[in-house]
């Protein structure tokens, strides 16, 4: 079994806020059965204060998936939409008293589902302008594509070597370590986050390197910062 914190185990065994919310204003699902993790969130929002009054979840996934959702619902309840939007997967990991690096993507999935739900609510209530696909949006999404080996995003790991946004094409130059066992996993995550933006196509130029220069040192450096 993975080495999980007491808090993860406790939430896994006794998950809070589980099940459909009959009076929900909005519901969002992210992930897929094929990937092995999938999350649905229901939100009840006060239309005047924009406070999330109720939030529930259902989860198809591993223990950390269930625990992250449970903890997220506790963190989010009582927050305004704007406050909730600012929750990062790192905060969620901290709240869980840590996760194995290989399970960080569970926290990303939970946070992404929350963002989708909020976005949907805003769209339905005329609170949002058109989605602007720009460098900022792409960068923020790339920041949420993690490499399971390090639990860090592919920008931090310097796997994104180049980036172009032109004529409806998002073009990324990526470098993977030779024989990286997580390559397909990372590509799936990329497709999920950037492959379906309306009006945009994702083009990937992938090359393999014998080794990624000082990847571990880089990671340690970042940890020490």
């Amino acid at each position: 079994m993975m080495k999980y914190s007491q808090k993860v185990i406790e939430h896994f065994m006794n998950p809070r806020n589980v099940g459909e919310l009959p009076d929900a204003d909005v519901k969002a699902t992210e992930g897929s059965m094929a990937c092995g993790d999938m999350v649905t969130l229901w939100l009840k929002v006060n239309p005047k204060t924009l406070v999330i009054e109720k939030i529930t979840f259902k989860s198809y996934g591993c223990a950390s998936n269930i625990a992250t959702c449970s903890v997220l619902t506790e963190m989010v309840k009582g927050k305004t939409l704007e406050e909730a939007k600012k929750i990062t997967f790192k905060q969620l990991v901290d709240e869980l008293e840590g996760l194995p690096l290989i399970k960080f993507h569970c926290a990303v999935l939970a946070v992404d589902t929350l963002k989708s739900a909020i976005r949907l609510y805003e769209e339905q209530h005329g609170l949002v302008k058109e989605l602007v696909v720009d460098e900022h949006l792409i960068r923020s999404r790339l920041r949420r594509v993690l490499h399971p080996n390090w639990g860090k995003d592919i920008i931090t790991l310097r796997m994104v070597k180049g980036f172009k946004l032109k004529d409806g094409v998002i073009e990324l130059d990526l470098v993977f370590k030779k024989d990286d066992p997580f390559k397909d996993h990372v590509l799936e995550e990329l497709d999920e986050k950037l492959g379906h933006l309306p009006g945009y196509k994702l083009k990937l130029n992938i090359r393999e390197a014998d080794k990624l220069v000082n990847l571990r040192l880089e990671q340690e450096r970042l940890q020490n910062e």
Partner: protein, 392 residues
Amino acid sequence: MERKIIYLDNAQSTRLDDRVLEAMKPYFFEYYGLPTTEVGHSLGVKLREDIYMARKKIAESINAETEELIFTSGATEANNIAIQGFLRANPEKRHVITSPIEHSSVLALLKLMEKNGLVELSIVNVDEKGRVDLDHLNELIRKDTALVSIQHANQEIGTIQNIEEIGKICHDNGVVFHTDAAQSFLKVPIDVKRMNIDMMSITAHKIHGPKGIGALYIRKDIDVLPLIEGPFAEFGKRPGTENVPAIIGFAKAVEIWDWNDVERMKEMRDYLIKHLLEIEDSQLNGAKGDQRLCNNVNISFKYIEGEAALLHLDFRGIIVTTGSACFSRTLEPSYIILALGKKHEDAHGSIRFSLSKYNTMDELPYVVESVKDVVTRLREISPIAKDGEEDV
């Protein structure tokens, strides 16, 4: 609080039999030397004889000659010697055939060798139960086929191959046949001569013997080269210090094996299959009856993910394993379940229960109850449970 553990991961490894430990003990404290030639000191000569007797006992259990068995560190090493050692000794042919559900010490090795240009690799089709397509095997064999390596029984889904027929096809075409019998040794009777086996890997720790010892049967007219260099041992095919206590323990485990336990395991297996399949939306992975290992149960439960189920069962003292991606080192679902033509979610929701002689029938109602409860619990919180309306 002391809680009894119900260990159902015996396909991975088993509890040592106390009698095996007793047999091994003197070889740590009294006879701690190494075997010598027949003209060595008295301790070395005694050990030489003891190892000969151990080798003989194990060889006889598969109807092999004593000199046809070499000791290795386990089945992984035996598989590596059988494939790499054989191909090095026989460099004129480069084509190898294997199945998509082999242990990684065969499949990953061969894929790596293919990538490095050392072999040309063909993968024979298996059906939805994991049985090798014999006609396809026949078609794949070429003039330059050096070796066919197909396991006797599968580690994850327990399907037993028709080894005798596979061996016959190989021999009719002049091809050498290796089988990985790590899972089936002493669970299915094996006669290497009758079953047309040229090389076979076995291991001790899955039959209540010690870890770190296995053996490779190599028919006497087949050449293999050692993978490592060092002092002469194991007829020059596997240099290094003999693991004397483990060899003695391996032979003891073989000697005390009781085939009645196999029948008992079959009853327990069938009880588990029958009652676990009472759970809605569950399906058995692998073959049934005589085509299935006596100790293997592997079931996919729809709408749940195996790692969460495993953890819940662990808290209830039940040790199992799963083919879920979340449980694997690389986040990939079981390649074996996928090779049967099943979906990713069938792999994520698969749980393997593997029995040994130390399990008892009275443990099983608790196991069934616990699995039912855990599956129900996880389905209640799953967004894709049947009664939910979630679109997938």
